[in-house]
């Protein structure tokens, strides 16, 4: 998808247009998944890791739906059972044990992870549960080899401040991460197990965001809070967000795995418009007297009309399709062309279902025959009128009917045709609750699966409940990081500029800064600079391979800054020595130097003037600047520039132009 296309979709839209989204009844909630920075996984002792090399072994599994303790089957579970997938897991010796393979029951929950989750729940102002109950959340798509994710609510009913109001946090759960999907083709899906069972927190907000812009901002805010905790992993795939969208008259739709925070704006915008379009389609159907009850849709085997390979070619039906079915949607003429998203029509909703549930994933996978076809619909090729008439006659379709052809193996076509009928029935009544995935343009979405409900939740009989003791909460509160917005205010009060305060508030070194800043005589602004900006700049320097810019341990760092404060080390000298320290080139006990005494500075300046007496610039200022630079260099930053300047100015009172 070209950038021009995306630009066209985004340009000129005010994503914070309160009136426009207010009229739609736009509501948006977030589900943020953030991996925790623990050494080990949640229910086994495997180290957390990310792998991109060849797997060490593979295994094959299948999934079947089971009943919840309320005695019902979950809709998603049944849908996923219909897909009849062969599920392949890639295993890695270093990061996967028999627990992830579902060949060993869980070990007791990782207490480090539980501590971190409690800490973040407290930062969000949640009510902690008194006893943690581990629950199984079923996923039959294969993303977890057990067929369920072990998850537990840690906190409920929190909130964060935003735009003079509160954004409510519904819950925070501690759960194990799922596999990464590597490939999904036909009836085989391949998963990589490296990140499986990595501890993560899932934070669910109430639908309190009223515009796409607000949703993006709150996502960013929550991201900052998580980083401020100092307990979360960074890097590829460590944080992911799902976004829920609804408008007046619709139930929530989940957009899964939004790649970047800014993508939330166009994705939620176009999702809201899609829902509006589906409501309009429903009204059109009702106007034609088509409801869920009166809707007529029939399925016909029309394979024999397509024995001729030439014929197949004209329709775009591949040679290896054993069966071609035609679904006749009675009285639907023109309605599959109802626009739902930019460049997409309602036909795309059908194609999505057929692709996922019937595993007919070679696109186009359906063909719409609609008499007055103009232009191309999703999954449509131009169909000669006489061919269309041929099919219509064979199944006795009226000219007001719309036909949808679907092809593939006998089994899959049966499922596909059934799904088409299910989806058109839904269209006459509701907007089906779906999980949708973003398309490459990161503006539009496509069907991923039916949205799972509470019926997929089961107690985990392998794990005992665990009470959260008062002592534990008190201990965690004692070391809990302040909220980033509180920190920012506090830092500003210390004279740290806003941009730096904003960075430091969520920086991994923030805890160290907070601990150190009160007790030493160093300027907080310089300490902040060192820990955030200098550190980053020094880390980016490209030096010899054996030299790395690792932070020394906190004790060494603390000694360093204490002596810097005591020695009143000038800013520039501090930078030089800090750099050496980070590169490991600074001896163990070395201290940042004190500034030069007045006498030392005087004699250094005299030395420089004597050495450089031949150098003359056009103006006095340039000459002074040059000499200043020399003195700074030779003093290794141990004198403040103001002091050097005033000395040089006295020493070179009059201007002697260059010869």
């Amino acid at each position: 998808m070209s950038n021009a296309w995306r630009k066209k979709l985004i340009e000129g839209i005010d994503f914070d247009d309160v009136e426009f989204y207010g009229n739609l009844g736009f509501k948006c909630g977030l589900e943020i998944h953030q991996q925790l920075d623990t050494k080990k996984k949640l229910f086994c002792r495997c180290p957390v890791g990310y792998r991109n090399d060849e797997p060490d072994a593979i295994i094959l599994r299948h999934m079947r739906p089971t009943l919840s303790e309320m005695g019902t089957y979950d809709g998603t579970a049944l849908m996923e059972f219909k897909t009849k997938k062969q599920i392949i897991y890639q295993l890695y010796r270093g990061n996967v044990c028999t627990y992830e393979m579902d060949d060993t029951p869980p070990f007791p929950i990782n207490q480090e992870a539980l501590d971190y989750a409690i800490e973040i729940a407290l930062m969000l102002g949640c009510q902690l549960v008194d006893e943690v109950h581990i629950t199984r959340k079923q996923y039959l798509d294969g993303s977890i080899p057990t067929g369920f994710q072990r998850t537990a609510i840690i906190g409920l009913n929190g909130w964060i401040p935003y735009r003079d109001r509160k954004i409510r946090i519904q819950q925070l759960a501690l759960e194990e991460d799922a596999c990464r999907e590597v490939q999904d083709k036909g009836h085989t899906i391949i998963f990589r197990t490296d990140r499986l069972s990595t501890p993560l927190v899932e934070i669910v907000t109430k639908p309190d965001m009223h515009t796409p812009h607000e949703a993006a901002e709150v996502d960013e805010l929550l991201g900052r809070l998580l980083r401020a905790s100092g307990r979360v992993r960074r890097g590829i795939g460590s944080a992911r967000q799902d976004v829920n969208v609804s408008i007046t008259g619709s139930d929530r739709i989940e957009i899964k795995g939004v790649p970047r925070t800014p993508d939330i704006r166009p994705l939620t915008h176009y999702e809201a418009l899609r829902q509006k379009a589906l409501l309009e389609l429903r009204d059109k159907l009702h106007a034609r007297g088509i409801t869920e009850q009166t809707l007529k849709a029939t399925c016909h085997d029309v394979t024999k009309l397509f024995y001729d390979p030439q014929e197949r070619k004209r329709y775009g039906i591949p040679d290896d399709a054993d069966r071609v079915n035609a679904v006749n949607l009675v009285g639907w003429q023109g309605l599959l062309k109802h626009k739902t998203q930019p460049g997409l029509t309602f036909a795309a909703e059908l194609a999505g279902r057929v692709r996922v549930i019937a595993c007919l994933d070679r696109m186009p996978n359906i063909l719409v025959l609609d008499n007055q076809t103009e232009g191309k619909l999703h999954g449509e090729t131009d169909v000669p009128v006489e061919l269309e008439e041929h099919v219509r006659k064979a199944i006795g379709a009226d000219k007001n009917d719309t036909l949808v052809l679907v092809w593939g193996s006998v089994e899959d076509v049966k499922t596909g045709a059934e799904e088409i009928i299910i989806r058109v029935k839904e269209a006459a009544e509701i907007i089906p609750q779906e999980t949708r995935q973003h398309m490459v343009d990161k503006c539009r979405t496509d069907f991923e699966r039916i949205l799972p409900g509470p019926d997929r939740m089961y107690p985990d009989t392998d794990s005992p409940p665990e009470a959260i003791s008062k002592e534990r909460v008190v201990r965690i509160q004692g070391t809990m990081a302040p909220k980033p917005w509180d920190r920012e205010k506090e830092y500003a009060g210390m004279g740290i500029p806003a941009h730096l305060a904003r960075q430091l508030a969520i920086h991994p070194n923030a805890r160290f800064f907070d601990r150190l800043v009160g007790g030493i005589s160093i300027n907080p602004r310089i300490l902040a600079e060192a820990l955030v900006e200098w550190h980053r700049a020094i880390a980016r320097e490209k030096l010899a391979a054996e030299i790395t810019a690792d932070m020394p341990d906190e004790q060494r760092l603390e000694r360093f800054f204490i002596s810097a404060g005591k020695n009143r080390t000038p800013r520039r000298a501090l930078y030089c020595t800090f750099r050496l320290l980070l590169h490991g080139l600074y001896t163990k006990d070395a201290e940042p130097p004190a500034p030069l005494s007045t006498d030392e500075l005087k004699s250094l300046c005299e030395k420089v003037i004597a050495e450089r007496k031949d150098v003359r610039y056009k103006t006095r200022k340039l000459t002074l600047d040059f000499l200043l630079g020399e003195v700074i260099d030779q003093s290794a930053g141990r004198a403040e520039p103001e002091q050097i300047i005033s000395f040089l100015e006295n020493r070179i009172p009059s201007f002697q132009p260059a010869v």
Binding site: A57, I59, R61, L67, T98, D103, D130, A173, P454
Partner: protein, 462 residues
């Protein structure tokens, strides 16, 4: 605590509080606590859990525990009792399909969650099975009979005998095959017992279980049941066989001879292995492919030799280096009639045990020697120790597995207590509990980390 208890699983403080608030389990409630308000359904509590919390199911489906001391009030809004039941449908009968009987003993193969105790409990009707695994109807006409509902560890002689008799009746009734649902922990004990108690069966007797209970989406139960029903209905091997996962993948099952099989891993799916031999066959829900050539084929008659007896005055002694004579002495004092020793190496125990063992033999107790190495033969001529032990009157049991020797000795002792006759019966194999030869590939456990093994695992479904 009875089934109709309105406060299932709650005791002490928690029970008091719930009682005083006039509420009950499965009540849809609003609970006011010191921390705030919670809404959900009160669930039964596991009986082992403490009396300080109540369990609430939230609308989202999650469960949480609330401390009872912080509860201020509970308002009941509705009552929603759950009926956890696999949809029961009548198992279809097709006159052209073969009849198979599934005998249920309990265990994980047919089980569901008990939300009161939080445990997995056996559950089993043909309707439920059909509801859970409808594919079974494509294989055979299935009838189920529940013999007992016990966990594997509670199976014993009484159950072996009852199962054998039930099998005898089914053979007489002319079924095409029999499937026995069984917990996996002691499945190999029962398999051995049935091997001796039912000889020369005309039809397959297939034991099956599951390592992941059927309340899990990844359960192996459905695949195992399908494989077992197919092997029972269509398989050509008329023996007592254990039908469980070959690899840990959902790929194929193995049929293990009941006399040579053992559970070898506490939790793996592919836990059952044939020891010192190769499995009899490989099977899937569609076919049975024999690996061994020598097996007892299916017959058309209904003749079977039923010999369901057991003397339970038998013990198995797992020898360890510092074992003291009192262990053996206590068996003698308690009038045991048979002792199976799992000895070290080729079948050895230390000198201090000689005296009590001699005494045992003299008192007419049959003492059998097997090896705790599990693979390989007892060979008591190689070292003096072995020769000494044989002189005491101990019978080396060749390559019989210790658990199999235990079961066989119990069965033999129900026929005779004559030491010589016992020894003769023990050493006369009924179905390969002793084999004359150990093939070169009878002892194969791959060791990970070796390049050739890793290469194999990379490309194959392990």
């Amino acid at each position: 605590m009875n089934e109709h208890d309105k406060l299932k699983g709650y005791k002490g403080k928690a029970r008091e509080v719930l009682e005083s608030m006039g509420t009950r389990v499965w009540a849809d409630v609003e609970i006011e606590t010191d921390k705030g308000i919670y809404e959900g359904i009160i669930l039964p509590r596991a009986e082992q859990a403490d009396d300080l919390h109540i369990v609430l199911k939230l609308e989202t489906g999650y469960n949480i525990g609330l401390a009872v001391h912080a509860i201020r009030s509970i308002k009941e809004k509705a009552f929603r009792e759950a009926h956890y039941k696999i949809p029961e449908q009548e198992f279809p009968y097709d006159p052209i399909k073969l009849n198979v009987t599934l005998l249920g003993t309990g265990g994980t193969i047919a089980s569901r969650l008990d939300y009161r105790t939080g445990a997995v409990i056996p559950a089993f009707t043909p309707g439920e099975l059909y509801g859970a695994v409808p594919e079974l109807a494509d294989i055979c006409n299935l009838k189920t009979k529940k013999l007992f509902g016990v966990f594997s560890e509670n199976m014993g002689p009484e159950q072996y005998i009852a199962t054998a008799k039930a099998i005898g009746r089914e053979i007489e009734a002319g079924v095409a095959g029999i499937v026995i649902g069984h917990g996996t922990d002691t499945m190999h004990h029962t398999a051995a017992a049935l091997t001796f108690m039912i000889q020369d069966s005309p039809v397959p007797i297939i034991m099956v279980g599951s390592q992941r209970s059927s309340d899990r989406p990844s359960s192996d139960a459905a695949f195992n049941l399908r494989c077992a029903c197919n092997a029972a209905a269509h398989g050509s091997i008329a023996e007592v066989l254990v039908c469980m996962f070959g690899p840990t993948s959902d790929a194929y099952n193995l049929l293990h001879r009941g006399s040579r099989v053992r559970k070898m891993h506490s939790s793996y799916r592919s836990t059952f292995r044939t020891l010192s031999d190769i499995p009899v066959a490989k099977c899937t829900p569609d076919e049975v492919n024999p690996i061994k050539k020598d097996f007892r084929p299916r017959r058309k008659d209904k003749n079977v030799k039923l010999d369901a007896v057991f003397d339970d005055r038998v013990a198995i002694v797992y020898y360890y280096p510092a074992m003291k004579p009192d262990i053996i002495e206590s068996l003698i004092d308690n009038e045991y009639k048979g002792i199976v020793i799992a000895g070290t190496g080729l079948g050895h125990v230390n000198k201090p045990l000689y005296a009590p063992l001699r005494k045992a033999c003299r008192m007419g107790i049959s003492v059998m020697m097997t090896v705790q190495t599990l693979w390989g033969y007892v060979q008591m001529f190689v070292y003096d120790t072995g020769r000494d032990l044989m002189e005491l009157g101990i019978t080396p049991c060749s390559n019989m597995l210790p658990e199999v020797a235990y079961i066989k000795l119990g069965w033999v002792l129900a026929h005779t207590h004559d030491r010589e006759k016992v020894a003769k019966m023990m050493l006369t194999p009924i179905n390969d509990e002793i084999t004359e030869r150990e093939p070169h590939d009878g002892y194969l456990i791959f060791q990970g980390g070796l390049p050739e093994v890793e290469e194999f695992l990379k490309g194959r479904l392990r």
